[in-house]
């Protein structure tokens, strides 16, 4: 129990995406994953770009929209226990810089993946589905919404 200690914010998850250097870290990690996929000889360029997009989208959905609460104890009496990380960012304020950044990266990856897959139809379907998976949960209208009660508790 970390009594007697304090932080400026009760839940650091709300401000982690505003700390210095974290956006660059995120972009570098995505780039690194892409390089690993590109270097596999049995993937063509199209496949590796689409795979990057898919992996990025799936990981983003898992970390931002599935996991709820915090991995550490907070001093805000469990306010964010049932909130996904996306809902915790900036304590729920919409249209902040961090949220715009996260809306932009799937779109940029989608454009790059479409270009490098030469606009092939199968790749297009896969990439578009992944884009929808990344973008739809981030809409302000779906803030705090749990469709069919999935992931509620």
């Amino acid at each position: 129990m970390h009594t007697g200690t304090t932080n400026q914010v009760a839940n650091p998850n709300t401000v982690v995406w505003n700390s210095p250097g974290i956006w660059i870290t995120y972009l570098l990690t995505t780039g690194f994953m892409h390089l690993i996929l590109l270097s596999m000889p049995w993937f063509t360029t199209s496949v590796s770009w689409t795979l990057t997009n898919v992996l990025h989208g799936v990981c983003m959905y898992f970390f931002l929209h599935t996991i709820k609460g915090t991995p550490f104890e907070t001093s805000d009496q469990g306010k964010y226990r049932y909130s996904t990380h996306w809902e915790q960012i900036d304590s729920g304020t919409q249209f902040t810089a961090a949220r715009k950044f996260f809306m932009t990266t799937p779109i940029v990856l989608y454009i790059l993946a479409s270009f490098y897959s030469m606009y092939d139809f199968t790749h297009f379907v896969v990439n578009t589905l992944v884009l929808l998976l990344s973008l739809l949960p981030k809409l302000p209208q779906l803030h705090g919404v749990r469709i069919f009660g999935i992931n509620k508790y």
Partner: protein, 525 residues
């Protein structure tokens, strides 16, 4: 910008003369004109270097790896491949609501326990100028601990709050304290307002009031509880509390308990404080816009995690201008700052009666336990009647009171006190200059006895602490949750007992380990 008067003493107009991110610190009065009452003795400066970009990227990667290995270990634990050492649910209670949340304790289980070996060291001696540390061996990522049977003797103590070096159990005051223990017993077992009020308590309060040059004071049995219980007696739900963003947990708890509206201003930033004061007075209470009953500014004398000193000159000027009240928590500055060791008011040359409430503890530089509040007679008499500690918590133990009285007498009357204060000030400057020259990022004010040196990476904390212990120095490292997530640091607490040679040895050891662990971020700049 320093304004120098005729006789060369700079007065309170200096702004942050720092080479990093300077924190404002105009003294709050516009156009740099200073109030005639406040004339601090030296230019106010503090430094908070911004985090280098490479450190922030790789520290985040560090946390990712900690998370990855945490997931792997959790997987092994759920599948019974690795033994579980934490508390877990009783298998018979399977249908009941869970008592523990696995995810909530993820950080504690997988990251915090790895560092536990440098955070909970058992001692074999009173923590004075040197320590005897009981050696332990850890395995299973910090969950299994075994005593090796060896005791590391005479480790130089760079971690205890021992500013004037009085923290020993053999000394001049020991005899008097033992007499007091024989006369009054060890425990009091009753609050002040029942049968726990001894003459030694009144004597202590008299001594404190005379030492600080205020009208009266009241003593309590616990330092944390002093803040928690005093603030609710001073403010209530129609009051505004403006606290520094780095205030201690005890102040935050006290403010929350009081139900007052709390607004935090940026650390030592007088422009932000003035803006919040103006907004508070102009807009009044949140919904009804009624005027506040009172506005209380709460700051600390020396901030223990940042190593900075509050800009008292600026705050007193603002407080007079906007007619707010001032509460200072001098837990770390009492006895450590100022020519006469009276604390932050002495350091700045400001009359202690300008501050409405001074809070201090007896646990930092006198070895002891307890806290006190000093201020005007009206406030102290109100606290005697209204404060929850005076009514319900047991009063200070008599030998501890006697120890505090002896230390106060030593400081105010003998030459020994002056010598120690001078030695401490010299040690502070020498130590900080040595670290800065070597290229470490040191936060805070050059005169504060607390020296935080930034590490940024959670894993390097353990390496630094272990390597320093091997070289014979005990240091305190601090990480999340005591600091921000990427703000891990090692916090040196200087003492007057450190001789010049010990400081030189410490500096060379720190530079050695700093190179090994790669903490010298400013080297070559």
């Amino acid at each position: 910008m320093t304004v120098v008067t005729k006789n060369g003493v700079s007065n309170g107009v200096s702004n942050g003369v720092s080479n990093g991110v300077s924190n404002g610190v105009s003294n709050g009065v516009s156009n740099g004109k200073h109030s005639p009452h406040v004339r601090p003795v030296r230019a106010f400066q503090e430094t908070f270097e911004p985090m280098p970009l490479s450190a922030s990227i790789f520290a985040s990667v560090n946390y990712m790896f900690l998370g990855l290995f945490g997931v792997i270990r959790d997987f092994l634990r759920t599948n019974k491949i690795e033994k579980v050492f934490t508390a877990s649910e009783d298998p018979e209670m399977k249908g009941f609501a869970p008592l523990y949340d696995d995810f909530l304790s993820f950080y504690h289980r997988n990251a915090f326990m790895r560092i536990i070996e440098c955070l909970t060291r058992p001692l074999a001696r009173a923590p004075g100028a040197v320590l005897h540390i009981v050696e332990r061996e850890f395995s299973n990522a910090g969950w299994v601990c075994k005593y090796t049977g060896k005791i590391l003797k005479n480790v130089v103590n760079l971690g205890s709050y021992n500013y004037l070096g009085i923290s020993e159990n053999k000394g001049k005051s020991t005899k008097v304290v033992i007499e007091a223990a024989k006369k009054y017993g060890v425990g009091i077992c009753s609050p002040r307002r029942e049968v726990g009020n001894l003459d030694i308590h009144s004597e202590l309060e008299q001594v404190v009031a005379e030492y600080l040059d205020v009208e009266a004071s009241i003593s309590f049995g616990m330092g944390f509880a002093t803040n928690v219980m005093t603030i609710p007696s001073l403010v209530d739900k129609d009051c505004l509390v403006l606290g520094d963003e780095h205030n201690h947990a005890s102040i935050a708890t006290g403010c929350k308990l009081s139900n007052a509206t709390i607004r935090r201003f940026k650390h030592n930033n007088m422009e932000d404080l003035e803006k919040k004061l103006c907004d508070g007075i102009a807009y009044g209470q949140p919904r009804t816009h009624r005027p506040w009953k009172k506005i209380l500014i709460v700051v600390e004398g020396v901030y223990s995690m940042e190593g900075s000193i509050t800009n008292l000159a600026g705050i007193v000027a603002l407080k007079k201008k906007y007619k707010a009240y001032l509460y200072i928590d001098e837990a770390h500055s009492m006895g450590a700052l100022g020519k006469r060791a009276r604390g932050v008011t002495d350091y700045f040359g400001i009359d202690a009666k300008e501050v409405d409430v001074i809070m201090g503890t007896f646990s930092k530089f006198f070895p002891g336990q307890g806290g006190f509040i000093a201020g005007s007679r009206a406030i102290i008499e109100h606290l005697r009647a209204d404060s929850a500690i005076a009514s319900y918590a047991t009063s200070m133990s008599a030998p501890v009171c006697q120890q505090a009285i002896s230390v106060f007498n030593m400081l105010s009357s003998t030459e020994e006190g002056k010598k120690k204060t001078k030695q401490l000030a010299k040690n502070c400057r020498m130590f900080r200059q040595g670290l800065k020259k070597a290229g470490f990022i040191v936060y805070g004010n050059d005169d504060s006895p607390i020296v935080p040196v930034m590490i940024f990476y959670p894993s390097k904390m353990l390496g630094f602490s272990r390597e320093m212990l091997e070289r014979g120095f005990a240091v305190v490292v601090a990480g999340y949750p005591a600091t921000p997530v990427l703000g891990s640091r090692v916090r040196f607490c200087l003492s007057a007992t450190l001789t010049d040679k010990q400081i030189q040895d410490a500096l060379s050891a720190i530079i050695d380990v700093g190179d090994l662990v790669q903490m010298t971020y400013l080297k070559g700049k």
